[in-house]
């Protein structure tokens, strides 16, 4: 299947998911409410891309993943993964996708790690040679060798997550969905997981859709990011474009020779914080820092300075606050 230049592995066209929720009102009366968990989402993910999918809790991230894997049937719209309609052919699709839920292990608690892999081999009918290769590669990159004979219940959270990610890749999935893969992990484990995902994506061209609350995951792995809020996409584009979209502000931090009153009279910037000889000035992200630095240096005894990019978390928080669809 090497037809089009950029084969679209995931296609969503106006996909909706409406839940009917019954809520108690008064003692006995129950009233039906419609909750539009996913409210008309459209996007494409070409084969081999690594995309971040972020949004606040309850925005519709998990619902989207559940529809993409066939667990949930959409209420409307069109959905294809690798050309398959997930809701209709869930078990056929299952062979071609891998899923890791950060907070839910699929490993067998009381059995050695390798037994879980053996079950995957049989359940997915992975050919022996493929299985050996894939397992060897995962064991090498994720440092699993010393863990294979250890019962899963004795693994640390980070070890278990590495184990889970390997389990999701043994059958050569074309798409890998990762839901919070680094949640609760220490810095070293996080770095290892990210490194591995980068390798898998580069080596096998596995398409990756990643939901996370840790934006460092996105910054280090994904060039493209999609932001969902209230069931709608509010941003879909490059990560660096997100800053501008969020109308972020940059910060100029200056160290003066001595304590002075807040800096005034610098056009386009305002001082937001003073701590001893150090002062913080904010200015719009789109504006150049050079004139500001010149203006400060001209009138104040400047010793040192640095410019900070807007914090991506703040940017996204602003996007959410900005409400529905405003940015697109």
């Amino acid at each position: 299947m090497s037809g089009t230049a950029a084969e679209q592995l995931i296609e969503m066209d106006g996909v909706e998911k409406v839940f009917s929720v019954r809520r108690k009102e008064g003692r006995l009366r129950r009233v039906r409410h419609e909750v539009r968990a996913v409210d008309g989402i459209t996007f494409r993910v070409p084969r081999g891309e690594m995309v971040g999918y972020i949004g606040p809790n309850g925005a519709g991230k998990s619902t989207t993943i559940k529809m993409l894997t066939g667990i949930l049937v959409p209420s409307g719209g069109r959905l294809r993964v690798a050309g398959i309609d997930p809701a209709r052919e869930r078990t056929r699709l299952a062979r071609r996708i891998g899923v890791v839920f950060g907070q839910r292990t699929t490993l067998w608690w009381d059995l050695p790690l390798k037994d879980s892999y053996e079950l995957v081999r049989r359940m997915y009918r992975v050919p022996d040679a493929r299985y050996r290769d894939n397992l060897a590669r995962c064991v090498e990159l994720l440092d699993l060798a010393p863990l294979l004979d250890v019962p899963v219940r004795q693994l640390s959270l980070g070890q278990r997550m590495r184990g889970d990610i390997a389990a999701a890749l043994l059958h050569d999935p074309e798409v890998l969905y990762l839901d919070e893969p680094t949640i609760g992990l220490d810095v070293v484990s996080k770095a290892k997981v990210r490194e591995f995902l980068r390798e898998v994506n580069a080596e096998r061209g596995t398409t990756v859709l990643l939901t996370t609350h840790d934006l460092t995951d996105i910054e280090q792995l994904c060039r493209r990011v999609m932001v969902i809020d209230h069931g709608r996409l509010v941003y879909d584009g490059r990560l660096d474009g997100l800053r501008a979209a969020g109308e972020g502000e940059r910060t100029l931090v200056v160290d003066l020779a001595r304590e002075l009153p807040p800096i005034e009279g610098v056009p386009g910037a305002r001082t937001v914080k003073v701590a001893g000889p150090r002062q913080w000035l904010v200015f719009p992200a789109g504006q150049s820092a050079a004139p500001l630095v010149a203006a400060v240096a001209e009138r104040y005894p400047l010793v040192d300075l640095s410019v900070r990019e807007p914090d991506i978390e703040d940017v996204i928080a602003k996007l959410y606050a900005g409400g529905r669809g405003g940015v697109m």
Partner: protein, 305 residues
């Protein structure tokens, strides 16, 4: 080690397992593997998962031995109670001890078999509540097989062992002229009974897609039904007997075929051929339970809770 009990009833329980084995009901227009292939795939997955649970259980060997013995002893106490009762009386509702033992042994063996193979389905509600059912929906094998094999507990062999022992003890003492047909009737009765109980387990699990704490309702039909079927139908009121004949046809588990075997008249005055309907009843109940399962799974997949 479990291949014996697994291979046998899965064929007979095919009525219960066959329908729902393809979980891709409803929205599926067609296509995909045939029904037979889906059944074979489901049974294979069932076997794979059962093996994992057995090995998990054996990771705690002592605990396993103790619960298995405990299970055997606890279900055995039921029959000890019946034997004690017969130290004071000669017949119960016109039935002598070996005849009651026949009822006891057949119902216990049937329930034990269904419980071993499908009993874990009553935990479905818990999987729905904690969201782990979703991980089963991500695998390329039928959900029904996975739910049925979930937390497979070898200790449940205790009930079957005990039921078969009581049955074996009763058979030579019965006043029955054994013909080939009558001999064949005994295992058929146990297998059909297991299929009927299995259908109840399946329907009970299907109901949990809507009401996650409905396991108790199903328990009242399985364990409750078993407690009733251990005694002769003649000691119960006619209304109750009617209810378990026509409404929830548990009477086909052992009452009707056992009456036929013992050459006793049906307390409801039904013609003799009704007793042969066991396999048909099991088939119909299995198909109904399979449909319920399909609807339940479809409802779950459209509501997600």
């Amino acid at each position: 080690m479990v291949s014996g009990p697994v291979a046998g009833p899965s064929a007979a329980g095919g009525a219960a397992a066959g329908g729902p084995a393809t979980d891709r009901g409803g929205p599926d227009g067609g296509g995909g593997p045939s029904r037979g292939a889906a059944l074979a795939q489901g049974l294979r997955a069932y076997g794979l998962i059962v093996r994992m649970w057995v090995r998990s259980t054996l990771a705690y060997r002592t605990s396993f031995v103790m619960t298995a013995v405990g299970n055997f002893a606890a279900s055995g106490l039921d029959f000890v109670a019946i034997m004690l009762m017969f130290s004071q009386i000669d017949t119960l509702g016109g039935f002598a001890l070996p005849e009651v033992a026949l009822l006891y042994g057949t119902s216990s063996s049937s329930l034990g078999l269904a419980d071993l193979l499908l009993g874990s389905m009553s935990r479905l509600g818990q999987r729905i509540r904690d969201g782990t059912l979703d991980t089963l929906l991500l695998r390329p094998v039928p959900v029904f097989a996975q739910v049925a094999a979930d937390r497979f507990a070898l200790r449940r062999l205790g009930r079957i062992t005990q039921g078969v022992l009581v049955l074996g003890w009763s058979l030579p003492q019965l006043d029955v002229a054994w013909t080939a047909g009558r001999i064949l009737l005994v295992p058929l009765m146990v297998l059909c009974g297991a299929a009927i109980y299995g259908a109840v387990y399946t329907a009970g699990a299907a109901f949990q897609f809507w009401a996650q704490d409905a396991a108790e309702v199903q328990n009242s039909f399985t364990y409750g039904g078993n407690a009733m079927l251990q005694y002769p139908p003649t000691v119960f009121s006619k209304e109750l007997v009617r209810g378990v004949t026509f409404v929830i046809p548990l009477a086909f588990v052992n009452w009707l075929p056992a009456l036929l075997l013992l050459g006793r008249p049906d307390p409801l005055g039904l013609p003799g051929w009704v007793a042969f309907l066991g396999p048909a009843v099991a088939g119909v109940m299995g198909a109904g339970a399979g449909l319920a399962w399909r609807y339940g799974l479809r409802a779950y997949r459209s509501t997600g809770s």
